[in-house]
């Protein structure tokens, strides 16, 4: 029997791939404070997924299209003077989800899929899902490596980035679309809540351990993969939803990291004297 035929083997592989992907993008999401946007994306891909499954297109395509609309919509709305990005994100989130649920209502027997959208169905991933995740992982890694400098500069110092001749708007869109691609890839396998949790919690935990970007990124990936594996084993042993198990494991990692942060603050205080 092929190793890939075992449901659990496939699930473990997917969790590892998704963990690496989530850890990588999570560092950017936490740094740029895009958690709410990520949440909005997880929900707003919903009408795309539903529409795609109604007309019989690959649901990833539908999700990607809907997510891109939201990512660009938020970018456009929050660039206008006097438009608050958080409010715009919230509007698109609830609008997207309502549209999805309105579409669902026109179909019967869809509610089962709906709950799997929320908490995922990691035990049903097939070989195609794995390949898609691996390809997206490769692409995102490549993009984040090649564009590390402009992304860092636009995130840290917008005026400086503009002075250096970068288009901050363009780079914002690049980042949003990258997050969007990750979300779209991850959600069908692991659900909306887990996607958000796995992107934010490990990166936030890693940030407590270090201030240096490469270290934070490495730790975030490590934490995300570890939470995935812990959550998965908890879920198979005690028969709870896998998505919820992973999400709680990620929260646990963050809680465990809390004392480290406190210790580091004291250490910093002893070493340097901030002014201002």
């Amino acid at each position: 029997m092929n190793w890939w035929d075992d449901v659990l083997h496939r699930a473990v592989t997917e969790v590892v791939l998704v963990g690496v992907l989530a850890g990588l993008i999570g560092v950017r999401v936490v740094q740029r404070r895009l958690s709410f946007l990520t949440m909005a994306l997880t929900h707003a891909t919903f009408p795309g997924v539903v529409a795609a499954s109604i007309i019989g297109v690959n649901i990833l395509v539908g999700g990607a299209a809907a997510g891109a609309v939201v990512a660009l919509g938020v970018a456009a709305l929050s660039r206008r003077p006097g438009q608050d990005a958080a409010a715009a994100t919230g509007v698109l989130l609830s609008g997207g989800f309502a549209l999805g649920s309105a579409l669902v209502a026109t179909q019967s027997g869809f509610s089962r899929d709906l709950s799997s959208l929320l908490v995922g169905s990691i035990l049903t991933v097939d070989a195609t899902d794995l390949i898609v995740t691996a390809v997206v992982l490769a692409a995102v890694t490549l993009l984040l490596t090649l564009c590390a400098r402009p992304l860092l500069l636009t995130g840290f110092d917008r005026a400086g980035a503009r002075a250096a001749g970068l288009s901050t708007g363009l780079w914002d869109v690049v980042l949003l679309l990258t997050v969007e691609v990750v979300v779209v890839t991850v959600v069908p396998a692991v659900g909306t809540i887990l996607a958000l949790s796995l992107i934010v919690a490990p990166a936030a935990a890693a940030r407590l351990w270090s201030d240096r970007q490469p270290v934070v990124t490495g730790l975030a990936v490590l934490f995300a993969v570890a939470s995935g594996l812990i959550g998965l084993s908890v879920s198979t042993r005690w028969n709870v939803a896998a998505g919820a198990g992973v999400s709680l494991a990620a929260t646990g990692v963050l809680l465990a990291s809390w004392p480290i942060a406190r210790a580091r603050v004291r250490g910093d205080a002893a070493r340097s004297h901030p002014i201002g």
Binding site: F36, L194, S197, T251
Partner: protein
């Protein structure tokens, strides 16, 4: 246009929405001013474990108490965590949201009818609102309105100028907790009837849409309320007509949300035009 609402359940649904409109207009102004959209979203999700535990413990009566407890716990957690400097506000909110919702899912996934529970939590049961629900909502609406009125001045000062408000002796931490508790109460009041998605829309969109046409806070609050009433009426009428006349199933909650979103989108050009003429 009135006739469908003589059907009792439709009339009650509209009454519920009107009650909620009264608080959502003013409270959404503060959600907008303080940038609490994500906190509102988090609250709509974190009451879920409370709902589950409440139902397990005491059936439908327990639901209310469970949601209330979970809502208050979240309000405290979010206030404490977002004041700490170690975690950015949005990351802390995301973690509380996912962790509490996951606890709810763990609880519910050990029961058999779990997809139905989740679905009704998400979309609510606007058309099964009973007179008793209405009475409970009305009580909460009064409590929230009073809670908002006594603190409105301090909340406004704190939203506009945190440093100035602290200098004037206002307790920022307590004010933030107060507003989060009020938000939690709105969610508790609304979530059973209208579901999480509509609650979120009600907490964010009224003021965000009204902001497009006015700079005045009081006008924003009033317009927000009017908008919810109009969208509620039209949404219910729309979904009723769609299902009775054309046999199209559509959830009434999502019709209301979509109309609210539509009004927001339609008003964007107004805002842009005003921005141009003002300068």
């Amino acid at each position: 246009m009135i006739e469908p609402f003589t059907v009792p359940f439709l009339g009650r649904a509209l009454a519920e929405l009107v009650l909620l409109a009264v608080i959502c207009g003013p409270i959404s102004v503060f959600v907008l001013a303080r940038g609490l959209s994500f906190v509102a979203d988090a609250l709509t999700h974190t009451v879920f474990p409370g709902v589950v535990l409440g139902v397990v413990a005491g059936g439908l009566d327990g639901l209310f108490a469970g949601a209330l407890v979970a809502g208050l716990v979240t309000a405290v957690l979010l206030t404490v965590l977002t004041r700490g400097a170690r975690l950015s506000d949005d990351a802390a909110t995301a973690v509380v949201l996912t962790a509490m919702f996951s606890i709810g899912v763990v609880l519910v996934s050990r029961r058999s009818s779990y997809t139905a529970d989740l679905t009704s939590f998400l979309f609510g049961r606007l058309l099964t609102v009973t007179p008793r629900h209405l009475a409970e909502t009305a009580v909460l609406v009064v409590v929230i309105l009073v809670g908002l009125l006594v603190a409105v001045r301090a909340l406004l000062f704190r939203s506009f100028d945190p440093a100035g408000a602290a200098a004037a002796g206002l307790r920022i931490g307590r004010l933030d907790l107060w507003l989060n508790v009020l938000l939690a109460l709105v969610v508790v009041a609304a979530v059973r009837a209208v579901g999480t998605i509509l609650v979120l829309a009600l907490l964010i969109i009224p003021a965000a849409a009204a902001r497009m046409v006015t700079d005045r806070l009081v006008v924003m609050a009033l317009l927000g309320t009017v908008l919810v009433v109009v969208a509620g009426y039209a949404g219910l009428l729309l979904s009723w007509t769609a299902s009775v006349r054309y046999g199209l199933a559509s959830t009434s909650g999502s019709s209301v949300v979509l109309l609210l979103v539509l009004s927001y989108l339609i008003l964007i050009p107004v805002r842009l035009w005003r921005g141009r003429t003002r300068r």
